[in-house]
């Protein structure tokens, strides 16, 4: 691997194989998959094809049985679990499908939480409170809402707070696991605009997983998980 691709490569998966404990067959077999810095990628796949598992492997919460998953050149499998947690805190922002926020914290504290677990992101954010407030305004939440409890917000507002949290401190990679599936169409469009814009502002790569193909055209790169996961490919080929 040349040094230039090493620099540009944010995430690289090579010869990876993952099987859940006690499962009889592999869940994911991926020969090669790369993400470059700042790239926005749409990963499509039907439910139950291992999307969430792949995201856990990318975020270093799970480690593969074989092969490598590297984030910024670090092989997750080579790191201790404490190092994995730190690397994730420093470089990965994560947006769940829904229920992203701790219900007992205020909107602002939920955003600041990302900086609490990562000194690096707190450092990059500068004045963390000000940055968090700026991001919240950016995603359309005005000052009176910052003090509210996260559980008092609408689903759309919650997802926007989650986006602000995922982006504070400019992580290198933002992972979004079907973040729009709980939103109606109008909200979905505005959320997508916002998410792509703030990712671009922060220079963060976005790995966006969804089964909703209508969103795909907004991304620089579109992929189908079934096409890169050889387990599924094999299953489809063999009748």
């Amino acid at each position: 691997m040349s040094s230039s691709t090493e620099e540009a490569s944010l995430l690289s998966i090579n010869g990876m194989r993952f099987r859940w404990p006690k499962a009889s067959t592999d869940c994911l077999v991926i020969d090669s998959f790369d993400l470059r810095r700042g790239e926005t990628t749409f990963l499509r796949g039907p439910s139950g094809c291992g999307k969430s598992t792949l995201l856990s492997l990318v975020a270093g919460v799970l480690t593969p049985d074989q092969g490598t998953v590297r984030l910024l050149g670090h092989d997750w499998r080579q790191l201790s679990s404490a190092r994995r947690d730190r690397l994730r805190a420093d470089h990965v922002g994560y947006i769940f499908q829904q229920f992203n926020l701790l219900p007992y914290l205020s909107v602002l504290d939920n955003v600041l939480l990302a900086c609490r677990f990562s000194a690096r992101r707190a450092g990059q954010a500068g004045d963390v409170r000000q940055t968090a407030q700026g991001l919240l305004e950016r995603v359309g939440l005005k000052a009176p809402e910052w003090r509210r409890h996260a559980s008092d917000l609408s689903v759309g507002q919650q997802q926007r707070v989650a986006a602000a949290r995922a982006l504070i401190g400019r992580p290198d990679l933002v992972i979004a696991d079907e973040p729009t599936s709980a939103l109606d169409e109008a909200l979905r469009e505005s959320f997508m605009d916002l998410l792509l814009q703030v990712c671009a502002d922060a220079g963060s790569a976005l790995l966006f997983v969804s089964h909703d193909a209508r969103l795909a055209s907004r991304f620089q790169r579109q992929l189908d998980l079934t096409s890169i996961n050889q387990v599924v490919a094999a299953a489809e080929v063999t009748p």
Binding site: S52, L55, S56, A59, V61, L62, S81, A82, D85, R86, R88, A89, D90, V92, Y94, F96, F99, N100, L101, L102, P103, Y104, L105, D109, L113, A114, R116, F117, S118, R165, D177
Partner: protein, 420 residues
């Protein structure tokens, strides 16, 4: 750690209703624990303060604890008295500096009447070798003079010059009143915090005088002796209940004790108050330990409640754990988060319990002093109380590791996809 602490506080506050119930149960068990410990130590304190400077207590042969209890604490009653000749014989022993006879058995409205000599006010010591102080008036001189303990005067509202009627025995039968021979209050003692406060002191001659016309515990019909006639009779007591003895030198205490127990006139025994008190604690200690063990069990039960509540709540919090994991919290941090929460609840429970205990002592300490004779004092926790508190806290921390461990397991199993 600071981030975890603030998270734990917020998270606990979010579930404050259930957790405050657990906290309350911990607070009550702490109250119980501290209360029992405080009563125990203050009872001991009160007892050991009650007599000092008395080297030996002499009485008819009985148990040494029993002799101590009735002669000093007015608890229980003597089975046998000692003859006046024996009292005189002990007083003549060459090692004996002073003797103070004590004659018990009568009462005044529930307070014990102590027949004694004037030497009582001179020789009796309590606490740290403190002498009795006559706050108002003077010690008794005439036959029908009485000196009241502070508590008696205060509770019954007596002043110098008032007349009091003593009752034979415990005063439950009015027929047994010595109404024909009332006593005059001539002195009131300063408060001592000992049974002296709850005693009516009269001279031995007065004690003899009111029983002149009594035989075998009842007035003799047709034999009444008017009060102004008593001086015609010999008022030297024939028997007393016990004898307090002070020695010239403490070194002689065991030889005097032996010679008293070998006294040929009648069977006597002499006890060292400190030794008898230790024997008493040996007996009482069993009960004390039982109570303490019981309240420790109550604490354990309340901590078990803590574990149950936090652990049961975990299933609803698996989403929360996944969010924290995604933000970079490790399973170990999740463990500490839960352990911290349990520890905080335990700590608050302890503080509230200690607060309730302090308030209860402040509010009821005086009442218990006057009603039960055990004054409770508000003071900084003693060493043993600190030990109990830190023991409960340590158990709380250990107990909190249980939900912590469960959360650790859950966060490993769930990762970013909680199975709810």
């Amino acid at each position: 750690m600071k981030a975890l602490f603030s998270l734990a506080v917020h998270s606990a506050w979010n579930r404050r209703f259930v957790l405050s119930l657990v906290m309350l149960s911990i607070a009550l068990s702490t109250f119980l624990l501290l209360g029992i410990e405080r009563i125990r130590s203050d009872v001991r304190e009160n007892f050991s303060q009650s007599v000092s400077g008395t080297d030996l207590i002499v009485g008819a042969r009985t148990g040494s604890v029993q002799l101590l209890l009735y002669s000093v604490f007015r608890i229980g009653s003597a089975t046998n008295n000692i003859r006046w000749s024996s009292v005189q014989a002990v007083g003549q022993h060459k090692a004996v500096a002073w003797t103070v006879p004590i004659s018990l058995g009568d009462s005044h409205r529930g307070f014990a009447v102590v027949g004694t000599s004037r030497g009582y006010f001179e020789h009796f010591r309590y606490g740290d070798q403190q002498p009795l102080v006559v706050e108002k008036g003077k010690p008794f001189e005439a036959v029908f003079d009485a000196v009241l303990g502070a508590e008696v005067a205060e509770r019954l509202g007596y002043v110098i010059g008032d007349h009091v009627v003593l009752s034979h025995g415990d005063g439950k039968m009015s027929a047994n009143d010595h109404a024909d021979k009332p006593f005059t209050v001539v002195g009131i003692l300063q408060r001592t915090g000992t049974p002296v406060d709850r005693s009516v002191h009269i001279g031995l001659d007065g004690m003899e005088a009111i029983h002149l016309d009594w035989v075998a515990g009842a007035p003799l019909p047709g034999m009444a002796v008017p009060a102004d006639q008593v001086s015609r009779y010999d008022l030297t007591p024939k028997k007393v209940t016990a004898l307090l003895v002070g020695l010239k030198s403490r070194a002689a205490v065991f030889s005097v004790q032996r010679s008293i127990s070998e006294f040929e006139g009648e069977p006597l025994m002499a006890i060292l108050p400190g030794v008898a008190l230790d024997e008493l604690w040996d007996v009482v200690g069993i009960g004390e330990r039982g109570l303490l063990a019981m309240s420790l069990l109550v604490s354990l039960v309340s901590l078990a409640g803590l574990v149950a509540v936090i652990t049961a709540g975990l299933d609803q919090r698996r989403r929360e754990l996944a969010i924290l994991r995604a933000l970079g919290a490790g399973p170990r941090q999740i463990l500490w988060l839960l352990a911290l929460e349990g520890t905080l609840v335990t700590l608050c429970g302890l503080l509230i319990g200690a607060g309730i205990c302090a308030m209860a002592i402040a509010a009821l300490g005086d009442v218990s002093g006057s009603r039960l004779g055990v004054a409770l004092h508000l003071q900084a926790p003693s060493l043993s109380e600190w030990a109990l508190l830190s023991g409960v806290l340590a158990s709380g921390v250990v107990a909190s590791l249980v939900p912590g461990w469960r959360a650790y397991r859950l966060s490993l199993i769930d990762g970013l996809s909680p199975r709810i």
